[in-house]
């Protein structure tokens, strides 16, 4: 697993040529709901 620099990694470089990433999930969606629960660590 690669540790990124949080929000900074989500930012496009000014003269960047390409981006590709996948954010690591701490919890799978199977632990979630189609309602939006109050989880402070959740991305959404």
């Amino acid at each position: 697993m690669k540790k990124g620099r949080g929000a900074a990694t989500l930012k496009k470089k000014k003269k960047g040529q390409a981006i590709a990433y996948r954010i690591k999930c701490k919890r799978t969606a199977n632990g979630l709901s189609h309602y939006v629960p109050s989880d402070k660590k959740a991305l959404v």
Binding site: I23, S38, L43
Partner: protein
Amino acid sequence: MQNHAGAELSLKEENIKKAGKLLIDPDNVFWALLFDQGRNEAARKKILSLYNKRRKELDASMRDFRFTTEFNSVYINPTDICNANCPYCYIPPSKRRSGKSLDNRKLLYILRKLDKFFAPYRKIRKTKPMIIYHASEPLLMKGMIFSSIEKFHKKFHFGIQTNAILLEKKDVEFLKSHKVSVGISLDSLDPKINDLTRKAKGTTNYSRAIQAIKWFNGYHGLNVITTVTKHNVKGLAGLVRFLHSNKVSCVLLNPVRATRKAVIKLRPGTAELTKYFIEAVNAAIEVSKRSKRRIIIGNFSNIVLGISAPKARRLMCDISPCGGGRCFFAVTPDGSMIPCGEFVGLKEFCGGNIFKTSVKKAVFSKGFKKVRSRVVEDIPECDVCIYRNVCGSPCPAELYSLSKDVKGVSPYCEFYKKIIEYAFALIAQGKTKYLFRKDALSDIKFEYSLNI
């Protein structure tokens, strides 16, 4: 759209406005954006090398995510009766007028039964399963459901979806102190437009919903649900700004689901929906940039997650198969277990009665299996769409209600394509940080990242 040259036949290419050239594997949602129209061969080589390295792992991860059946939530409708008469409600009007309600004894029976059903889940996971009190209007049974929350709050997380008409200040304190997730329905900032679709007998949900939002005062577990119709579509951005100024951190702008034929006429046109939805996304980014507080549009952020962190998605409607009968199910006041609340009234999907049969039997029933077997690969048009595993072509209940077939293309197909492309544009512009909850951003880790 064309296949990528050489051995990388699984990667498709698409030019996206304001984003660049997209390379994507539609099956595992590996993606990369090339900003010089893909002319830089060195950048392309690096992407292909990353793709080859990660492909098997991503395939397995997506397979596991889509096809694992593991329940974490149950929607309980405590009553069919409602104090409102919203024209798009998925509960048939006859049921809302004179339907059944659970009594305290029956509700406790259901919760005890679900507690046993979830026992193995608790051993595996550290989080509690979730019970959500949902349609019609659960607060008509306020005493009963609040008492159940007090009794079972150590066993379950609780949520409630309400029109707020019966919500009082002391209720808000109760819900906050028990960390209950609360969804408040509000369709427009304009009371006249709001009341077109959120009709209530002798009162209005408008002033009550706004009062409740103020009482909650930035409560983290609050979200507002707006059903988008042809009536309110133009006011979405204004609503987002208002909610942000009232400390709401999450709003869902859900295009109306026509689970009854009469509702079709309420659908907004695709072009109009796309235009004003994107305007609302931009408004959310703009107000979030300007202040310390964020507001996210949950269903758009979920699309962004579908691209950048597919397994972190919270809304299970955008996944194929969806979460109905796979991650959650619903229990109606007569005890019927159905894959999702949207299937109310469709008897062929009922998995049995919770007062007579086991939950396990419902899980393996024909109706539940039918929803779990609906995959985008079997749907003409979706099978060749590069975004098929970002959108999931919702909703099977809506499609079945109108055509008696779950395997159809979403009526919002073109809308989804446009907002997915807009999500890629925001990714290209580095704006995604405004689309996620702030608390989580400092803690983000990556499976892989390439930024060249």
